[in-house]
């Protein structure tokens, strides 16, 4: 009960934030009513997925300060579990998603134990390495379709299928992921006020001090990593039901890992709204840049050049992200 009260309690934010957040949430709810194009709809679904990925990353990367660049492996585990269980044994999404989360969390414990003995760049590169190892293994493992990947054919499962999440119209996916999004937001709101959340921020500021206060640093990091993993793997399961095709080079690529980290950082790592703002800026930008510059003008790669420039400018000049700018402006006003 206490937990639930903590999760829905947003009262420590300024009222203006809550008004804006409420208005945006209302807009999200009614968005499909006047949705013009399916492209906009797809972009919105991607936005929700990536803000959930970003929230997951934010627990370990933002609050904990451990730069994890291997989140794609957990997207892959979640996605593959759902796809394999559906295609081989016809097990619906609502069963395979928790199973996928379980597998991902077990894997995160296995590699998290040695991983968190590392710090700084060593840790970041090691997460990339584990992710790439898993990708290479999935590329040759014929049980999961090897390099060709898997495809969920909507013909075998006539839509709308609420158990297996096979729909024809995007609107079903939209409301489903919106539900996940609100749940994730509430969870994150609880998390940042939980015991683990405070411990993590302490670890981020000064690890030795945290240890002297009696915090089990190693175990706190592993626990948080498992939480982040569960988040990411859950959305990974949804991801595969939505896009219906997975290939290891695509879903476990380093680019996806970086995108997740980048999104949280652009919005402002270590804040509740950060990943959402980051995804809200980057995902539409990416989709539309690709549509206008990449596809329409025939210039392959130019969208990613702009994208890279944004990354470079943000990390060089405003590493605390958009939310950092907002907070800076507020602090100046208060004086």
């Amino acid at each position: 009960m206490e937990t639930l009260k903590n999760a829905v309690d947003f009262s420590d934010f300024p009222r203006i934030d809550l008004v804006i957040a409420g208005a945006v949430a209302f807009l999200f709810l009614i968005f499909p009513l006047f949705s013009a194009s399916s492209f906009a709809m797809a972009t919105m679904i991607q936005f929700f997925m990536f803000s959930l990925y970003g929230m997951g990353w934010n627990t370990i990367g933002g609050y904990g300060g451990q730069v994890d660049l291997g989140k794609a492996q957990y997207v892959g585990i979640g996605a593959y579990t759902t796809a394999v269980m559906l295609l081989r044994w016809d097990i619906p999404f609502w069963v395979s998603m928790p199973v996928g989360m379980g597998i991902a969390v077990i894997w995160s414990f296995i590699i998290g134990y040695p991983l968190f003995r590392l710090k700084g760049h060593y840790f970041a590169i090691a997460t990339i390495a584990t992710s790439l190892v898993l990708k290479d293994l999935f590329t040759v493992w014929s049980f999961v379709g090897a390099a060709r990947g898997l495809e969920i054919s909507p013909i075998t499962y006539p839509p709308p299928d609420y158990m297996r999440l096979i729909f024809k119209e995007d609107i079903y996916y939209y409301y489903l992921i919106l539900g996940f999004f609100f749940l994730g937001l509430l969870y994150m709101n609880w998390f940042r006020k939980s015991r683990l959340g405070f411990q993590l921020r302490c670890i981020k500021d000064n690890e030795d001090m945290a240890r002297s206060l009696g915090i089990n640093v190693h175990w706190a990091k592993i626990k948080t990593y498992a939480i982040a993993t569960a988040f990411v793997s859950m959305v990974g399961s949804f991801h595969v039901c939505y896009i219906k095709v997975i290939e290891p080079v695509d879903i476990m690529s380093l680019d996806l890992s970086i995108l997740i980290a980048l999104m949280a950082m652009l919005g402002g790592a270590g804040s509740l709204w950060g990943p959402i703002i980051g995804a809200g800026v980057l995902i539409p930008l990416r989709s539309y840049l690709k549509e206008w510059l990449g596809a329409a003008a025939g210039l392959v790669g130019i969208d990613l050049i702009f994208y890279a420039l944004i990354i470079m400018i943000v990390s060089a000049f405003e590493p605390r992200g958009i939310w950092g700018i907002v907070e800076k402006v507020r602090r100046r006003k208060r004086r």
Binding site: G61, G65, V67, L69, P114, L115, R117, L118, G120, H121, Y122, A124, I125, A126, I128, A129, T130, L132, V133, D136, L137, T139, V140, A147, L254, I258, A261, L262, M265, A269, L299, V300, G301, I302, L304, I305, Y307, A308, L309, I310, I311, M312, S315, A316, F317, P319
Partner: protein, 304 residues
């Protein structure tokens, strides 16, 4: 037995080139503690430079090394002065993602300019020739030349770092930038120089590799990871460490060859079923993970 010797020879020859690839990364890290994710992309720039210069002038890519060195030096200095200088003031997250942005930028610029297809060297005095040393060791002339020139370039950089005043100033900056500044060493210039040397050495390695390796805009990441593994094994910041670790990593990259040898020698059927050639690069990532967990300082590390 021939198979085993051949694999070892190929691994060592490749390792010499890889050592040169990793040299730039370890110098940059040693001097200013920033991990350059765009390192493999620098290599790619070197490969394209070698290839295009060779095609434009009609010479062998071996003779384009000075051009590649100059391009790499300028690239490194420009990246430092225009971007890294601002980046190092921020936290580590920003540094990691910032150099990653640089990598994405260079990669997609190459994609935009050159397209996504593989390009290889078709002409040249060395292409297609090989030395048969005997005992199953057949060295392609391109690889042998690349290995020899890599060792020479490596030695040159090592001499520069250890036997000249500039090298001493670089080492001083690496050990303690603040104290170096008090001693009148322009640390800002030294940082730029470290990026220049790092960029120059890796583009030279690129111009050597292009003789026997196809170049496309996406090949950078693999070499970045290879370089990270070498540098982690040799110790971040250690120049001799990079050389020995390069040889070890070269042998790791030949694991499929060793696997074949054991498959034929012991004749176990299950070994032949493992798709080892597809898992060729996985062992590099595994090696990185194992090395950093077991010995984060590396073999010759003096800084971590």
């Amino acid at each position: 037995m021939d198979l085993l010797l051949g694999s070892i020879a190929a691994g060592i020859v490749l390792g010499m080139v890889i050592a040169l690839v990793a040299l730039g990364l370890t110098i940059i890290f040693g001097v200013m503690e920033i991990v350059n994710f765009a390192h493999g992309e620098f290599l790619m720039v070197g490969m394209y430079t070698g290839l295009l210069t060779a095609q434009a002038t009609g010479t062998d890519p071996i003779f384009t090394l000075p051009v590649a060195a100059i391009v790499g030096f300028l690239l490194g200095v420009i990246c430092y002065a225009g971007f890294i200088k601002f980046l190092i003031r921020g936290p580590m997250v920003a540094q990691l993602l910032g150099t990653f942005g640089l990598m994405l930028f260079l990669r997609n610029l190459a994609l935009l300019i050159f397209g996504s297809s593989d390009r290889t060297v078709h002409h040249g005095i060395l292409v297609g020739k090989s030395f048969d040393i005997g005992m199953g060791i057949i060295l392609p002339a391109t690889k042998a030349a690349a290995a020899g020139l890599s060792v020479i370039a490596f030695l040159a950089v090592w001499l520069l770092m250890n036997r000249t005043k500039i090298g001493k100033a670089l080492t001083a900056t690496a050990l303690n930038a603040q104290a170096a500044r008090y001693m009148g060493i322009p640390t800002e210039k030294m940082n730029a120089l470290a990026w220049g040397i790092g960029g120059g050495s890796v583009t030279v390695a690129g111009a050597l590799i292009v003789n026997f390796w196809a170049v496309n805009p996406f090949m950078g990441l693999l070499f970045t990871m290879i370089a990270f593994t070498v540098v982690a094994l040799g110790g971040f910041g250690s120049v001799p460490g990079a050389f020995f670790a390069g040889l070890v990593v070269g042998l790791i990259m030949e694991i499929p060859g060793f696997w074949d040898f054991f498959t034929y020698t012991f004749d176990w059927p299950w070994m032949a079923d493992v798709p080892m050639t597809s898992l060729k690069y996985m062992w590099i990532y595994v090696a990185y993970f194992v090395i950093t967990v077991i010995r984060p300082r590396g073999l010759f590390g003096w800084k971590h």
